[in-house]
Amino acid sequence: MNKIWLVIKREYLTRVRNKTFLLSTFLFPIIIVAFIIGSTFLALKTRNKVKIAVVNDPGFLQKNLESDSSSVIFEYPADVNSSNYESKGYVGLLKVNSDTAREKYVIESKKSLSIETMSYVERQMKKAIEYSMLQEKNIERKVLDSISTASKKAAQVTNQLDTGKEANNKLPYIIGFGCGIIIYITMFVFGAMVMRGVMEEKTSRIAEVIVSSVKPFQLMMGKILGIAAVGLTQLLLWMVFLMVLVNIIPLFVSAETMQQFQQVQQAQQQLPGGPNNTVAIEMLKATDTLINGVNWPMIITCFLFYFLGGYLFYASLFAAVGSAINEDPQEAQSLMLPIMMPIVFGFIILSTSIENPDSPMAFWGSMIPFTSPIVMMGRIAKGVPEVVPWWQLFLSMGLLIIGFIFTTWLAGKIYRTGILLYGKKASWKEMIKWARRS
């Protein structure tokens, strides 16, 4: 036991003291935050006020189009046409071609307008046309406005669950997907780290020196546990670091910018298939404003469990592959494929089951240890007793524990033979033979 501890300590310290570890630990959150801030900043930049001149107004536009002082302003100058709108300070020229049966609206502009501007204009146009049609039926604008505000006040659609909690539909989706992706990525990253470590020991021929004082299984487990500790350290540092950054940023940014920031977020949410960074922004928001309604202790506990369980399940297999490889890294490719496939498959199941956490596919995906660490996280975020019953959670955890004990046992046997075998090209068939023989 003392020896395995020594191995763990070495594996942990050599990696944590490595420059790559420090760089990836501290740069990664900075890059993410910088990316979010940068893209928001860009969004703010491109959202400079846009002035649009409206010509050929059939009569209802000026009455009904609403300008937004911070983004799009409609004006109705008399002496503006296609040739001079730019010099008069307008970005676009909204024209109505009423010569066809169906009215067609065109915005002329030098540069293509942003999606946001276009969608704002479209929304305003739709509303203006609706209003004008209703007004033709003698319904006044005032009445319409009062109806819409009244309806907004009177009814609010929420999804009430049997347990009395209010379902939060968007956030669990993001949390589940986020956790699943993190587990998916870390399984590859740390699994590959184990494999490279084993390969290093084999090709540098230190394995034989070490196994003359430590049992091969101890060496393998020491490596796996040491790297697990590295992974946990890194995750923890990321969490802390992100929290700090999220809390620090508002101090450096003026209140006005923050307000704009919020507006951009809302605008982006309204866009169908808006920019990708909405997910990231949601995550950011999740850290402060939306904490209520999500069972954080449960999610964090499960996340740590499935992170470790999934890692342990696959790490020993990666170690077995590493032990079978000779100097040629290309051999690794073909041997790794059978291990990587289920992980990728788990990710595919995650992306379908996140919409539909009760489907048979999601259920089986979250039970079978090959995919459960990834798939189960997506389901857990949706609520534990409600979507995932307790028995399912415990069954899945139990199966994962049995699973990693089995893979570790199997890999240990392959590893024992592989680590000392040089010059022989190994296949999975060969490796199974090693496992059976020893």
């Binding site: 540098s204 021929r205 003359s212 004082s213 023989r437």
Partner: protein, 311 residues
């Protein structure tokens, strides 16, 4: 008193009888040579003695008791032929780590490593990395890490490969010193001149079987061919009568003769004295281990063929 006793050890692999019924014993404080051509099963044999492999059959006694791989490995220091160290790890830390794996306390390890580093003039290496070392330098480091914990049994597989004569001698001297201090050394090689120089006792294995066992002197005597080298002031022109020997060859002022069955060296001297020849030197020509090795191993296929084994 033997430190290590190997009894009827067998290890079969899928396609080879790597070690096939080998027995021998190694005396405490002796330097023991394990010889054999490539692929004879030496490494497999050593791996069983170091507890890396379990034997299929037979047993190993270590210090009078049944060998217990888990607890006894701390009394063994093993330097494999295919050796290596962590390339990216600092040398001092690496030596401490390997010593700790052998059960040494950290402080103990530090003191001992520093002593050895002074002895081998390696003090400045402490914070260097292994990748900065030349092959010979890392060989010295490897030797230090092998013997650091003062093991009862030191197993060295080709310890001199890649070393220049100066460093070779340095390590050879340390091997002698360790043996004098009571360590037992098992030395595996196919460099015969070193074996003659260093070893007390040898065994020769080929194709998984032991084919020779004895002291260096004993083995040489066993394989001697009664050859003598006689030097003359002036070479006799002809051999008259019935000489008690056969001529094997002449060289400069010397004869190499093989004494016939039933005769003694004195008979040869008498013969030449009667002939009036002026003898300058007379000495027995013992076969070198290298000759014996080649003689015994010759005729068997150089590389082992793969065969199906039903154990």
């Amino acid at each position: 008193m033997s430190l290590l006793e190997v009894q009827n050890l067998k290890k079969y692999f899928a396609t080879q009888k790597a070690v096939d019924d080998i027995s021998f014993s190694v005396n405490k404080g002796s330097i023991f040579g394990l010889l054999g051509p490539n692929g004879a099963g030496k490494t497999t044999l050593i791996r069983m003695i170091t507890g890396i492999f379990y034997p299929d059959e037979g047993q190993i006694l270590f210090d009078g008791k049944k060998f217990d791989p888990i607890n006894d490995v701390v009394y063994i220091g093993y330097m494999p032929e295919e050796r290596g160290l962590y390339k990216k790890m600092k040398i001092g830390e690496q030596a401490v780590y390997l010593a700790q794996l052998k059960g040494l306390k950290k402080n103990e390890a530090m003191t001992k490593i520093k002593e050895w580093f002074v002895k081998f003039e390696m003090q400045s290496w402490w914070t260097k990395k292994v990748e900065d070392l030349s092959k010979g330098m890392s060989q010295k480091l490897q030797f230090v890490t092998t013997v650091l914990h003062e093991p009862k049994l030191i197993i060295l597989d080709e310890p001199f490969s890649g070393l220049d004569p100066v460093n070779s001698n340095l390590i050879k001297d340390e091997i002698f010193k360790l043996a004098q201090k009571g360590s037992t050394i098992l030395f595996s090689t196919h460099r015969m001149e070193q074996v003659e120089e260093i070893c007390d006792h040898i065994i020769l294995v080929n194709k998984g079987k032991k084919i020779l066992d004895g002291t260096v002197k004993g083995v040489k005597n066993q394989y001697k061919e009664n050859l003598f080298n006689i030097g003359f002031e002036e070479i006799p022109s002809s051999l008259n009568g019935n000489p008690p020997f056969e001529m094997v060859g002449t060289r400069d002022q010397q004869y190499v003769v093989k004494i016939k069955e039933g005769f003694k060296p004195n008979d040869v001297l008498n013969y030449f004295l009667q002939q009036g020849a002026k003898i300058v030197s007379f000495n027995e020509m013992l076969p070198s281990l290298s000759d014996i090795f080649i003689k015994l191993v010759e005729g068997t296929p150089l590389t082992r063929q793969f065969q199906a084994i039903t154990a």
